[in-house]
């Protein structure tokens, strides 16, 4: 199968859906001729014109609010938010307006909107351009949240997001845009709420989101050398969350680590870990471990930044401790 970059996969997904459905349009800063600073959208304005690939002023609340209005009235906007960190600027439009319109109207209104943005540190972009803020939107009912972990996932999840009749926030890892993966030429969709078992294993379950799926896979490879068989699960969407697949795996392996690039506290790792701890309680041989990003703003200095995110080595080490039973003593 051909291999394409995550960037190209997203571009293809959007182009295919824009061809299929004339109500889909793109809106955001420098999305047209520039094709975004990451060049993900390059070429789209040439095909679809400036009416459907709309460059905006630097007005994130404004154009997000406009997308909500457009989505309420027969259009299907894709909002391009250049950095995930800017989500703080649009929280009202996203969480008070888009997320609630359907419920507040008793189902009479709905907001088929995609917000595509990104996450991920270690790009030396400092505290306001490196955050992984997906937990915040996952906390708000009415939004769906997708976290692609490869080019293949990015394409399928984006296409599904565009066709979903609800607001969907999709977080791409900005460090993965040049990563390649096999992606079929044929059209495909990836359903929301169905986790992907990336690797089967029997001793411990590693649940990772976004680029942390790769971290988990690398950790699993390290563990294999030690004779430890790790199962790796990619939830794909954290809202809806495929609890069943995760629980089934942990009931089998009896151990789990949840890995996520958002800050550890009050984030994704706590949610998934606590669901496992509650619902697979009887099957656990060790505490469910959490590995989020450190609870610090992302530092600029490379000497510090690399310390803040989970690494394959650190995950493997925690997994070994768990399997060896070392964690029992600590409790």
């Amino acid at each position: 199968m051909r291999e394409i970059t995550l960037s190209k996969a997203v571009n293809e997904a959007i182009a295919e859906e824009m061809r299929r459905d004339p109500t889909v349009f793109l809106i955001g800063e420098d999305v047209a001729e520039a094709g975004t600073p990451f060049k993900v959208l390059a070429g789209l304005v040439e095909e679809f014109g400036t009416k459907r690939v709309i460059d905006t002023p630097i007005s994130e609340p404004g154009f997000t609010g406009m997308a909500v209005g457009a989505a309420l009235t027969g259009s299907r906007p894709i909002v391009d938010l250049m950095f995930g960190d800017f989500i703080f600027l649009i929280m009202d439009q996203l969480c008070n307006q888009a997320a609630k319109a359907c419920y507040m109207s008793g189902g009479k209104l709905n907001v088929p909107l995609v917000l595509r943005t990104n996450l991920g540190a270690t790009r030396r972009s400092a505290a306001q351009h490196s955050q992984s803020l997906h937990a915040l939107v996952a906390h708000i009912p009415g939004l769906k949240v997708a976290m692609p972990s490869s080019a293949y996932e990015a394409k399928g999840l984006m296409k599904t997001a565009i066709r979903d009749n609800n607001p969907v926030v999709i977080f791409e890892d900005k460090l993965m845009y040049q990563d390649k993966a096999p992606v079929p030429e044929e059209e495909y969709l990836i359903p929301f709420g169905k986790a992907n078992i990336k690797r089967e294993g029997t001793d411990i379950t590693l649940i990772g989101t976004s680029s942390m799926v790769q971290v988990a896979e690398k950790a699993a490879a390290l563990l294999e050398k030690d004779g430890i068989s790790a199962e790796v699960i990619d939830p794909r969407t954290i809202v809806p969350l495929d609890e069943e697949t995760i629980l089934a795996s942990v009931r089998k392996t009896s151990r789990a680590i949840v890995i996520d690039e958002g800050h550890q506290s009050y984030g994704v790792t706590g949610e998934i870990a606590s669901r496992i701890s509650e619902k697979a309680f009887y099957h656990l041989d060790a505490p469910v471990l959490r590995m989020g990003a450190m609870d610090v703003p992302v530092p600029f200095s490379p000497a510090l930044e690399d310390l803040t995110v989970p690494t394959p080595e650190a995950v493997a080490e925690r997994a070994r401790q768990s399997v060896r039973g070392e964690l029992f003593d600590a409790a």
Binding site: T23, F25, K51, R52, T56, P57, S59, P61, G62, F63, T64, G65, M66, A67, V68, G69, A70, A71, L72, T73, G74, S75, P77, D92, Q93, N96, Q97, A101, C102, Y103, M104, S105, G106, G107, K108, L109, N110, P141, G142, K144, T160, R163, D164, N165, N166, Y188, L189, P191
Partner: protein, 347 residues
Amino acid sequence: MAAKAAAKKGTAPKGNAEDYLRMYRQMVRIRAFEDNANQLYLSAKMPGLTHMYSGQEAVAVGICEALTDDDKITSTHRGHGHCVAKGADFKAMFCELLGKEEGYCRGKGGSMHIADQSHGNLGANAIVGGSMGIATGAALSAQLRGTDEVTVCFFGDGATAQGLWYEVMNMAALWKLPVIYACENNGYSEYTKTEEIAAGSLTARAEAFGIEAHKVDGQDVLAVNELTQKLVARARKGEGPFFIELDTYRYHGHHVGDINREYYRAKDEESEWKSTRDPILNFGKWLTEQGVVSEDDLVAINDEIRADAEAAVAYAEAARYPDASEVDMHVYVDSPELDAALSKQSA
């Protein structure tokens, strides 16, 4: 909706009688709705709070009578008037205010979130200024979809302090969107006078973005309607956006519970507006002076509408609450086409 009045004060009043009477009736309907809503609150039958539109009727009616059902509006926390003026039904509105299943939003929205998409009302909003983006986006969508729909964005003087407005005015101006920003300047935001919270000039703020701005007496339904008709027609031709500042006044407190308000506004001021600038009284007087209707006709209209409203209240009081099972419905809507594509794929 029927063809609208090409209203011009003083010209051929009888020829436009039908339009005038519809406007009159709509204003009375709003007043009757609000009087009943207030009563529900005072008798502790209404859950929560609500913000009365009484006094501002000429704004909602003058504007909405220049729109069709395909045209959109966005509304505010003080939104009953817009909702009625855009064609909503009393029963579904009162049911919503009481949290009943037959409400416009199945009781989930309440006073501050009434939406009536069948008449193009995209909804009230409890975030001040929160619908400015929505309205502008509806106009963008109208343009993209190649329709000639126009969107009116209602908001108060207080909402002009929200930065969102400037962001969307800029884009509306750049892209010539068919949106009309209608600022109901009722002199107050909550318990504060407008002049204490708004520097400079509101019309100049719109004009700075190259947006044509107008000021109009918001108590004069014909003046409001005439201006709006012109601007709507121009917006349909791509000459928008526009801004209108409408001078008006709210008769009640900021919300129904705001009873003792002398610390921020004088009783004299209130009675002055009510006695000399009431939009319904004045328009009624003009209609009789012009011989369009008799005073008795007006009384009859009033009585009929009051009876309607009371019947709707009684209906709503007797109506059912939504079933407990509805609590987690409508968080998400289904996506049947997506589901079909997915099951085709997995087959």
